[in-house]
């Protein structure tokens, strides 16, 4: 049955099978990435998420901005 669908689908050009291959590649990679993301160590995740907050920017001087003019 699947072979029949495949033959009909590819009737225009066998090159259309590229789309099916690409879809499968996407599905597999996406699944792997999702599993990887879910299985990551909590400490590792926290360390990564905090990277933007690490720099020595004197942020507090500008936080809670007070209005000079109006």
């Amino acid at each position: 049955m699947i072979a029949v669908f495949a033959r009909e689908f590819l009737a225009d050009s066998p090159a259309v099978s590229l789309a099916v291959a690409a879809l499968l590649i996407f599905a597999v990679v996406f699944t792997v990435v999702t599993i990887r993301a879910l299985m990551m160590d909590k400490d590792e995740i926290e360390a990564l998420a905090n990277l933007p907050l690490e720099d020595a920017q004197p942020a507090e001087a500008f936080a809670g901005l007070e209005d000079d003019h109006g």
Partner: protein, 775 residues
């Protein structure tokens, strides 16, 4: 731990920031002006500022000048801090900045002059394209060089988005601008017709995806946590968001070509992947908004968070609406209408514009070492801008749905309810004025922001950030072999192979192979988990630590979709097999170039879609072979005027002449600019042969004889049309005028099919012999 002191290059950040502010004003003012031209046609006061020429200037300025400079400011600022390294080369940074601004100036000069490639968001002529490619590579070299010198091993997710932007835009821009130059300012694309359409919208859609979206998402993932003072809501979600978005986005281009002559399978693939985009897009939006959890109270006071929150919300709105519009039935109503214009402006004004404003309000105080000059003005900017966007978007929704419904409305007894296109346009006039008001409000907000930022900078002092960073070298990177032959890579390859094999088997064996693939996947997972130890990095961790390898995988991710869509279309395109088409005559070719130069495609489509109401209004449904020799294709994306796919022979030469001289003389209520100057302008007959040679080099079957006799053929055809005009009451029109050339082209559109079996050369000879006979 030993440390060393470095100073970040914030000067380059300031330069790009101010360039973005300036070009943001220019781009949006151009937008307001062309909005006025649509509401009040006399604003098209000269050829250089007519809608068809200024619209590309507006879009290019908004995308590449405003958002481009904003992206570079954000990337330069955040990359240095995330890598704990100064940009690798100050010289490359400066070349990047000045090169990019020169490109923008080049665009600002050439586009009003009508020097264009005639493809949306890819209008810049080939010398500027080369400059863009070179400067982009300068940026890429500087960025990757900085990554190589980084003192932070981990690549934060924002850097992933920057990497995806750099590699993808490189591929897209180069492929879509492959062209054969025929002069210093003119070229013809190597792809034609349906191929060109697919490649163009693969580029066009992904210009939105990888220029207006992924880098701004990177900026969101860096600046939103900074502004909120807390880490991103879910780093796990950001990983899934990245890979999902990068893999899926690249496929979605064909949704710009639904119900057209594009092969059905490509349309279906484009639609399905567009709908799939809902998931990662909303994952990103949710991740952004939930980063503000516990900080919502700050929104009352802090304009930065206001802009970020609203920007992310507009991202969510636009990425909900996009997949909705990509559903074929919805697209049948919305495509070619102002609904699409409303959609893209929700994205550019709401997502890009507000993220830019939030970033500027956060950055300028830090770059100049003082508080924002006026927080109240920033808050007013927010509300004025928001009202402006809503007025703009809602008016375009109403206009689009109104016109879409009017186009398809049929009388109870059959026939179109509104057969005259002008009827459907006049209804939109109030919406066009409303759009003008909305756009103007948005610009007023930008002016307030500019003033506020300038005052902040004037009262402050440009600062340099000096920090202590680890001095020791990073641990040695994992080898390529470890990555390529790592267990996850091998297991994935086996699973994909098994799934592919299953596709070619009958039901029972196919099912068995699929089950086997699933078992391999499960077994592979446990195998991978078993071999894991604390002292050895996981495969994905190795990948994330190697910027080069990460970039290669990203390229593969984006190529998978692009190649899968484009190669079959190129292989099976009608151009490679059709013998039914006749290339344009020399005069028609010149006329077509004038059509492209004047940006007629910004208002007129050349694609009759597969709907009865379209056939009833415009003629037989367009086929791929109709545009086989069209380089560039001119299917268009908006119908402010009627479709022209089968306009050839529909009206007399004198009708076209009068319509061009004064559109309202022919169509009362028309908003088309007059093109009377075409009567005085002359074509360069000596240059036509070079154009035909260029066309021949990309496969258009011109013979050497036809090319050699092009000037003679032009004069002959021009003389026939001029004689027709004289006979119909308008004497004195020069046969070599641009008016005559354009009429020749218009009379040819949709009439290029000859008898099956007749060779193109013979057909062209036949067509030449009967020139004028049908006109």
């Amino acid at each position: 731990m030993k440390t060393t002191t470095i100073t970040y290059d914030d000067k380059i950040v300031r330069w790009f920031l101010w360039a973005s502010v300036a070009f943001g004003l220019v781009g949006t003012l151009a937008g307001v002006f062309i909005a006025l031209e649509l509401a009040w046609w006399p604003a098209n006061a000269a050829r250089w500022i007519a809608f068809g020429r200024l619209r590309p200037l507006h879009t290019n300025a908004a995308i590449f000048a405003f958002v481009g400079n904003m992206i570079f400011a954000g990337v330069y600022y955040s990359t240095q801090r995330l890598t704990k390294a100064r940009m690798a080369s100050d010289l490359l940074s400066k070349i990047h900045f000045w090169g990019w601004q020169l490109i923008i100036v080049g665009a600002a000069i050439t586009l009003p002059l009508g020097l264009t490639q005639g493809k949306e968001y890819a209008e810049l002529i080939w010398p500027i394209d080369i400059a863009v490619a070179v400067i982009w590579l300068v940026f890429a070299a500087n960025f990757f060089w900085t990554l190589a010198q980084r003192r932070e091993k981990h690549l934060y997710v924002a850097l992933w988005f920057y990497i995806a932007t750099i590699v993808t835009i490189t591929v897209l821009y180069v492929v879509n601008n492959l062209a054969i130059p025929v002069s210093f300012t003119e070229s013809y694309p190597v792809f034609g017709g349906v191929q060109d359409a697919l490649v163009q919208w693969w580029y066009g859609h992904n210009a939105v995806a990888f220029f207006l979206t992924t880098p701004v998402l990177g900026i969101m993932y860096y600046f939103l946590p900074k502004a909120a003072g807390r880490p991103v809501f879910s780093y796990r979600l950001s990983i899934v968001h990245f890979w999902g978005l990068v893999f899926i986005y690249i496929w979605a281009g064909p949704h710009h070509l639904l119900n057209t002559a594009l092969p059905e399978w490509a349309q279906t693939v484009g639609m399905i992947f567009s709908v799939m985009l809902w998931a990662p897009s909303w994952g990103g939006m949710i991740n952004g908004l939930l980063t503000l959890r516990g900080a919502w109270d700050k929104l009352r006071e802090d304009p930065v968070l206001k802009f970020f929150a609203a920007g992310v919300t507009f991202y969510g709105m636009a990425t909900f609406e996009g997949p909705l519009l990509a559903i074929r039935s919805v697209n049948g109503l919305a495509h070619y209408t102002d609904w699409i214009i409303g959609h893209v402006h929700a994205g550019t004004l709401g997502w890009n514009g507000f993220m830019a404003a939030g970033m500027f309000y956060w950055l300028v105080p830090r770059l100049y070492g003082r508080k924002l000059f006026s927080q109240a003005a920033a808050n007013y900017h927010f509300w004025i801008g928001t009202v402006g966007i809503l007025l703009y978007v809602v008016s375009m929704w109403v206009a689009g749905i109104t016109q879409g419904l009017m186009w398809r409305a049929e009388q109870p007894g059959g026939g179109l309810e509104y057969p005259n296109f002008i009827e459907t346009l006049i209804k939109l006039e109030p919406m066009y004025w409303t759009r003008l008001v909305g756009g103007s409000l948005y610009v007023i907000g930008l002016i307030m922001m500019t003033w506020n930022l300038i005052m902040t900078a004037r009262l402050g002092t440009a600062t340099e950030t000096t920090v202590e960073v680890p001095a020791e070298e990073l641990p040695k990177e994992s080898s390529w072999q470890d990555l390529l032959f790592g267990k996850p890579a091998l297991v994935s390859a086996v699973v994909v192979t098994l799934m592919l094999v299953a596709g070619f088997l009958d039901a029972l064996p196919a099912m068995a192979v699929i089950v086997l693939a699933v078992l391999v996947a499960i077994g592979g997972y446990f195998l991978t988990a078993k071999g894991r130890s604390d002292d050895k990095p996981t495969w994905h961790r190795m990948l994330e630590g190697r910027a080069g390898a990460f970039s290669v995988f990203t390229v593969i991710a984006i190529l998978v979709g692009g190649v899968a869509e484009i190669i079959p279309t190129v292989i099976t395109s009608p151009e490679a097999t059709s013998i039914q088409n006749t290339p344009y005559s020399p005069l028609e070719l010149e006329g077509r170039d004038i059509y492209v130069r004047e940006g007629c495609y910004t208002c007129h489509s050349q694609m009759i879609r597969t709907f009865t109401w379209e056939s009833a209004r415009y003629g037989a449904v367009s086929e791929a072979q109709d545009s086989a020799f069209d380089r560039p294709f001119q299917w268009g994306s908006r119908r402010i005027g009627p479709d022209l796919a089968r306009v050839g022979g529909k009206y007399s030469d004198i009708w076209h002449y009068r319509h061009m001289m004064d559109p309202r003389q022919i169509s009362e209520g028309s908003i088309m600019p007059p093109y009377a100057f075409l009567e005085d302008a002359r074509i360069d007959a000596d240059g036509t042969a070079a154009k035909m040679r260029g066309m021949r080099s990309v496969g258009v079957p011109y013979t050497a004889e036809q090319i050699g006799a092009s000037a003679t053929a032009e004069r002959a055809q021009g003389t026939v049309i001029a004689a027709n005009l004289a006979e119909q009451g308008q004497a004195g029109v020069a046969p070599d005028s641009e008016m005559v050339a354009l009429i020749a082209y218009l009379q040819r559109i949709g009439k290029n099919t000859t008898a099956v079996g007749e060779s193109p050369a013979a057909a062209n000879a036949t067509a030449s012999a009967v020139e004028g006979g049908v006109r």
